[in-house]
Subunit: 523 residues, 2 copies
């Protein structure tokens, strides 16, 4: 099999050979070990897996300098950004530990036996259980937070699913280092062998999603890559769920009042956002709707100035650089599209991109403008009326995010924009920028097609739901129930006979607070 | 277009022409009206939709005799069963009204802005919103509870999604009558025009899942039908979620102790279960694992006697009857399969089936035995050791249900059976029968492929999740938030800064009970 090279995107040169591509026999052994780890990992329990996630976060922190340095060598994203990404990655692992300790994610429910309006009912107890081994495809643009130690891995391990990561070829050395750290931490937390595994190579990735032991796939990447994997899944005798985070335009609307009140500040913020991480965020704003007129003109001019002062940026790899080059060409040749400004030319070394600001007229936008173009480019679209703004929004594809910059206390136009765009987005942002995704309970990172193919999130506490499925136990003897479904276990939120009950932490004398639902509603 | 005939399965004769197949122009108008109903139906709010569901249940009850009589004419399921099914259908509509009143299904979460371990966090507020118009494919075997007024319709309307039902050709008159009743009830509840619609014909069904306005599909039926629809969905520029409840073997294990202690009672129960509704339940037990030896022999003999006393049963339609005939042929010619007993021959009229009990040796079962055969047939498999029982279970496909009949206080073998089968089932039943699915909060009707293609349920309160998707509002002005996400609205369960809060019903002075989570965990 082929060598797996680590390439420095600042030079385009191979720095080292990290590994060899995973061979079929190795893949088979890895998948079998993952399958045999599923039971013990589930039995490790919520608190055992919480400890596992804490061990992993601590171990990554311990190796912070080495991880950041290696990731920078392979991605050119810079030590500051990558240090922040490592912090986020560890935060995320610990947040899923918190999700486990809370236990609400189990959606535990108990219906005691009784007579109902449709006749007698047996004892029914439901909760979510792990789906089994999960294949995680690392993303090129987040070598930590969406790769080996990333959100999909953390969510799947929290759920109780062994994880097999397909390393992204853009940062194989970082993947291997992170894997070594996580695997050692898994051992320290008494997690079973096979809790986490790593494979390299396109063929190994394809074989992974076809393997009977794999029960779900988490993927962050291009639509083309997703389509290839989905086609393999469709050939399985047992199709499995595929959770893909694919492509997103992330439109931003600047209202006329916002342009008047803080055009200069917005221009700076918008350029910062579309060039952040060399424009390689899934949430990069690819389209900015700016009003026509004096204030809008000034805003676009300021965006142009800021863009032209930007240095060339290093992209992640040759494929991204090639895609950026052809994407810019496609954009520039689209009907009505004009170049507003470009940043400085690069050095001619490595995988460089010149930050680029384009403009297009409002109305029915060509697909070149509404398709995602990965890299530091955005298109400003000028609208001359509310009607034109709204009809332009109605024609956009769905996105992970949509943003409105409004005037002070302005709500009328923002409400209309929100109504026009809300059914096409997963996160609706006011007076902010879509780049940068907080990891929390209320976060949602997802959206209708083409941004994802899922009704779930890949960031935040509820991301765990993707790797769980419900099971109901009917008239089960208590000793055969999972602990969380026994009558005498009161440490997780549960819906009992239709009433949601939450444990009262730290008050032994009054373990439960009962609320919601009425006795007659429980018929 | 073609006529839609109503056929009496007891005679095979056409009784009346109910309608004409829906033409493309009609379908287009129906889909557009559904799309325009989506906003108003969402704005009707939780309590408005709760009223809608109650109106529908009341209206169905008002027409009970007419509905049951017509459904019996088209399905031959009998007035008793269909009366019970109508009761269940109305109960189900009212249960989803209860789900709406409770509001927990929204998964509302609020993270206030603050500083976290990964830096500053904006104000984030998340809840589930309706996906948009839903296509529901009625099932032949439940003309009420899984058809026009059935669980998918109730769940989608509760979620706030307009519903377009594709009538099953096996009961078009019942579908039309139920639709007329529901449409009138929707008007009485001030729901928008287009809240519910009905189409007839295979081509209309295909066009429905291809239509841009349709945002999800609920389906209960054959794997072949599901495959055809999934292929259409894959051709869409924007693939949509397909929730299919497909085929299920529903194995039952009788432990040696159970066979000894209550073999005769079990024999009667098992025959009742596999012949219930002429064996046309998705949860019909298609495989019964019985121990070898004297007690097992007696049990099988008693099952044979009970089967041979059964009358021929009328199946739902010609396709089911044809499938049953060829299925029995396939089963009987499978290696090692033998006929234990048959019921009485029929009259030769209509779509009849003779209840049939077959036997097969344990071990690696042929696919003829492990594929679902719709209709009154089951296969008894004799096992001679625990090892043989467990290895046979390991080879079974996943099912909606798996059942263990155990001896009094027996837990050792049931635990091992549970471990072997749990990852291949959605509901694990002890000492009961899988036929008959209670509608409740803790119910789950689903399972791994091939029983469904979903990690969600099609029965019970959580079925509503299929027709919802998350949206997060970031730094939104309160007046642009949905009511359930405003700080001052306290009538639904919410997770606020990581702590689950449930409203205290009927105590105005203390509206919230707060529990779960710790302050430091909210970092």
């Amino acid at each position: 099999m082929n060598d797996v090279p680590s390439i420095d995107p600042r030079t385009g040169a191979v720095v080292e050979v990290v590994a060899r591509e995973t061979e079929p026999a190795q893949l088979e052994a890895i998948c079998r070990t993952a399958a045999s780890a599923a039971g013990p990992l589930e039995r490790l329990g919520r608190l055992g897996r919480s400890r596992l996630l804490h061990e992993m976060a601590d171990a990554l922190e311990d190796q912070r300098d080495a991880v950041v340095q290696l990731a920078d060598r392979e991605t050119a994203l810079g030590a500051t950004r990558l240090g922040g990404e490592l912090t986020r990655t560890c935060f995320q692992l610990r947040m899923f530990a918190e999700v486990l300790e809370d236990g609400g994610y189990l959606e535990a429910a108990i219906d005691h036996p009784g007579t109902t309006g449709m006749g007698p009912r047996p004892d029914l107890r439901r909760m979510l259980v792990p789906v089994g081994p999960v294949a995680v495809f690392g993303a090129s643009n987040f070598p930590l937070a969406f790769s080996v130690p990333g959100g999909d891995t953390a969510a799947a391990l929290a759920a109780g699913c062994p994880v097999i990561v397909k390393a992204h070829p853009s940062h194989p050395a970082t993947s291997q280092l992170c894997f070594d750290i996580l695997e050692k931490a898994a051992g320290a937390a008494s997690a079973p062998e096979g809790t986490i595994a790593l494979v390299h190579g396109v063929e190994a990735g394809a074989a992974l999603v076809a393997h009977p032991a794999v029960r779900a796939v988490g993927f962050t990447g291009s639509s083309a890559g997703a389509h290839a994997l989905v086609r393999i899944i469709e050939q399985r005798p047992d199709p499995i769920p595929f959770f893909g985070e694919l492509s997103s335009l992330n439109p931003i609307v600047v209202t006329p009042t916002a342009a008047e009140q803080r055009g200069a500040q917005l221009a700076q913020g918008l350029v910062d956002s579309f060039t952040m991480g060399a424009g390689q965020f899934c949430t990069k704003p690819g389209l900015v709707l700016v009003p026509s007129g004096v204030a809008g003109d000034a805003l676009v001019e300021a965006m142009g100035s800021a863009t032209s002062e930007r240095a060339a940026q290093v992209l992640l790899n040759g494929a991204v650089a090639g895609g950026f080059g052809s994407g810019i060409q496609r954009l520039e040749s689209a009907p009505g599209v004009q170049v507003v400004a470009r940043g400085h030319d690069g050095t001619g070394q490595g995988f460089e991109a010149v930050p680029t600001l384009l403009a297009a007229p409002a109305g029915t936008l060509p697909t070149e403008v509404t398709d995602e173009c990965f890299g530091p480019v955005t298109v400003v679209v000028r609208y001359s009326s509310t009607a034109e703004l709204l009809s332009t929004l109605e024609g956009l594809p769905a996105s992970l995010t949509a943003t409105v910059h409004r005037g002070r206390l302005e709500t009328d136009l923002p409400a209309r924009v929100s109504d026009a765009i809300r059914h096409r987005t997963g996160r609706l942002i006011f007076d902010g920028y879509p780049t940068g995704v907080a990891v929390s309970w209320a976060q949602h990172h997802g959206g209708p097609w083409p941004s994802t193919n899922s009704q779930h999130t890949s960031v935040g506490a509820t991301a765990v739901r993707r790797f769980l499925r419900p099971v109901t136990w009917q008239d089960a003897p208590p000793e055969l129930l999972p602990p969380e479904l026994r009558d005498d276990v009161l440490d997780v939120p549960r819906r009992v006979d239709g009433r949601l009950q939450v444990p009262q932490r730290g008050q032994d004398s009054d373990p439960l607070l009962v609320a919601s639902g009425t006795p007659e509603a429980r018929a």
